[in-house]
Structure formats: structure tokens, C-alpha cells
Symmetry: C2
Subunit: 219 residues, 2 copies
């Protein structure tokens, strides 16, 4: 899939983007600097020019980019929801992955998860970058829940639960080679999420699918 928005930017952004793509598919340790340069169509020398901190800096920036991307994506999901319920938001987040897995197979996961697991392949700063990325992802989710009417005290915990379940389901889906765990988690978690709304909210069963194709590939 060619995405229109990566070629226009400079080579530096392309390399960060390619790093995230390769990391989420192959892991941190298995992603070489040469692979990144080749995937980004950039010269190898540019790596050490733009990222004098070496692989660690490159991975950290890729993780940070993935966190920002996930946060922007959540805002986009919320804006596109016909029924602004927590379960509909979660369903949209999950559908992003089921669509990809059913289209291109369950290769590739979350780059932040890969960076977290491959902890030894990079320095301790990557752990902080992963924490920041999760925070940048959780914050808009919690904000969206609060906007929907979820009590402020429960918005953050529920966002943590949503992201945890999604990440774990991505893991199991990759292992099983199918998207079943993702759909299962979305279905089972839905009633709990909507139950966090104040009582006078009418329970609307299913969200209708709204088109959200911005052409940007997964982080």
C-alpha cells in the first residue's frame, strides 16, 4: 500500500517511519540499520548523520512517533463515531487491527510492544520512550471516555484496560495467525465499557461502521 504522506517529507522522517514499520514486524534486535536505510530508500550514511545517537535514538524516535500516531488515531476515531460510546471507540480501535490482519495476514504488531519486549536490544532510554508512547496513547483514550460521560475517576483506568486488552489480543492474534482474539476481546469487553456511562444513557447496541481510511499505514 502506498501512502501518500511519507514521501513528501524529508528522508529523516521516512527513516523513523520505516524503523517503526520494521520493528513492529521483525522486532528491535532483528531490525538492522541497513534494513532501515534500504526500506526508507535512504543512504546508509544519512542514518549516522541524522541519528548520531545510533540505533537507540532511532528506535526511541520510532517509538515516540508510534505513540503520537496512536493518539492522533484515537482522536480521529472519536470524531468519526456515529454513536460516541466507549464500546464503539474500542470497536474502532480493534477494527483497525482486524482489518489489517484479514487483509494482509497477522504479521506485524505494535512497535511499542516490540520495543518493550526487546528490552535488551536497546538501552534503558527506550523503556522511557515506550512509557511515554503508552501515555500519549492512553491520554486521548481517557479524554474521549470522559467526553462521552464516563466519570473522571474511571476514565484513566478504563483506558488502561482497553489498551492492555488490545495489546494482549494483538499478541494472541499474531501467535494464532488470525484475528479471532481481537474480535473476541472487543465483544466481551463492550458491556463493561458501556456500563461505565451514567445510567440515563440509552444503551445503543452496535456502532455502524464509518469509513476511516486516511491512507496512513499502521504504526
Amino acid at each position: 500500500m502506498t501512502e501518500g504522506r511519507d514521501g513528501g517529507r524529508g528522508p529523516r522522517e521516512r527513516m523513523v517511519f520505516s524503523t517503526a514499520q520494521l520493528i513492529r514486524r521483525d522486532g528491535v534486535g532483528a531490525t538492522g540499520m541497513r534494513d532501515v536505510a534500504a526500506h526508507a530508500g535512504a543512504p546508509r550514511g544519512s542514518l549516522q548523520h541524522y541519528f548520531p545517537g545510533g540505533k537507540e535514538q532511532l528506535v526511541n524516535e520510532a517509538v515516540a512517533w508510534a505513540g503520537r500516531y496512536a493518539g492522533r488515531r484515537v482522536a480521529r476515531f472519536v470524531a468519526a463515531l456515529a454513536e460516541p460510546t466507549p464500546s464503539a471507540l474500542f470497536a474502532a480501535m480493534v477494527r483497525q487491527w482486524t482489518d489489517e490482519y484479514e487483509a494482509a495476514g497477522a504479521v506485524g504488531g505494535c512497535p511499542v510492544a516490540a520495543a518493550t519486549v526487546d528490552h535488551a536490544s536497546c538501552g534503558p532510554s527506550t523503556r522511557e520512550a515506550a512509557a511515554a508512547a503508552f501515555a500519549a496513547w492512553r491520554r486521548p483514550v481517557a479524554g474521549a471516555l470522559a467526553d462521552m460521560g464516563v466519570p473522571a475517576a474511571r476514565a484513566e483506568p478504563l483506558a488502561t484496560l482497553m489498551i492492555s486488552s488490545l495489546e494482549g489480543a494483538i499478541l494472541m492474534a499474531r501467535a494464532e495467525g488470525g484475528a479471532d482474539p481481537l474480535t473476541t476481546v472487543a465483544r466481551e469487553l463492550a458491556p463493561l465499557l458501556d456500563a461505565a456511562l451514567p445510567p440515563h444513557h440509552p444503551p445503543h447496541p452496535t456502532p455502524d461502521r464509518s469509513p476511516d481510511h486516511d491512507g496512513t499505514p499502521h504504526p
Copy 2:
């Protein structure tokens, strides 16, 4: 086979065990065969003798062992529960990790997750091994839920949700360096899990069991 050389556990099992331990801390790619031999106190030559399939076979056996271990652990948790409710089982599963993280820091995650993410560091057979490990873990969880009174149709999906949430929370906990996501997920998911029980939940006679301690560290 020669048994009884080292207290009943041969060097082969030690190597599989060490592989799981190193993988769950450093990832697959960053775990070298030499490291495994050193950690297991075994000679390097024994690796190629016991695992002619190389690193892939070693990793696969470690993943399979981790799956069996998790399954056995679930059975032990169920036996030790004072109140056999789904939320209590989930709390026990989560507490296994919070205890470790609060005692020794949030280094180390699930070896099955590491093998799933580091997909490129090993062949496709590792993916199947990870799927089998997840299944070996999910089956006893679903069985325990069914025994507690959860309808059979919901036992498997709920087990998938429990394991997904746990795996994702482990991920976030490692990234943040604390056990908070784990406790949050356990608390937020509890009402949904217990709501799957039939209206009058019958208090089962608790099978008294000594606290779990088999001397085996985490997988």
C-alpha cells in the same frame, strides 16, 4: 536417559528453563546460545547435542514449557482460591506478576509474548509453538471458569479476555516500570468477570490446599 544426576533435573531441562528465563527478560534475538549455556551451567557442546535443531528448537521448547507451566499454575491457583470466583482467579493470576515486579522490579515479561514479538529472530514454527502455549494456558482458565458456573459458551471468550488483558498489562507495566497497570486491570475487569456467573452464585466448598510453592521460579 540418565536421571538423578542433578537432584532429578537433567541438564536438558535446565537449558530449556534457562532459555525461557533469558528470553522473557532479554527477548529472543538478544538471547545467545552461549548465554543459555552459561546461565544453565551447562557446556556449550550440550546444546547442539540435545537440540540438534539449533536455536529454533530450543526456543520452541522453552515456549512450550512456559505454556505448560502457566497451565499448571492456573490449576494451582484455582485449588488455592478461598472463594472460587472468576475475579478471584484473575486476581491471583495478576498477583503473581505484581508480587514479582514489586519484589525484583519490572524486568522480565512473558516468554511467549517475547517469542511472538521477536518473530523474525526465529522460524515460523515458533509462531505455532506460541499459539500452542497460549492454548495450553487458555484451556485451564476456561475450564476453571466453567467449573465456577460460567456458561460454557462464555468460558473460552472470557479466558481469552483475561489472558489478553494480563499480557497487555504486563507490557505496560514493564514500560512504565511499575505494577500499576496490572492492579488497575485486575480491579476494572473484576465486575465483568463475576457478572458472567449465574444469578445466584453457589458458594462452592473450597478444596483446601497448601499455598503454592514448588520451588519453580517464573517462566
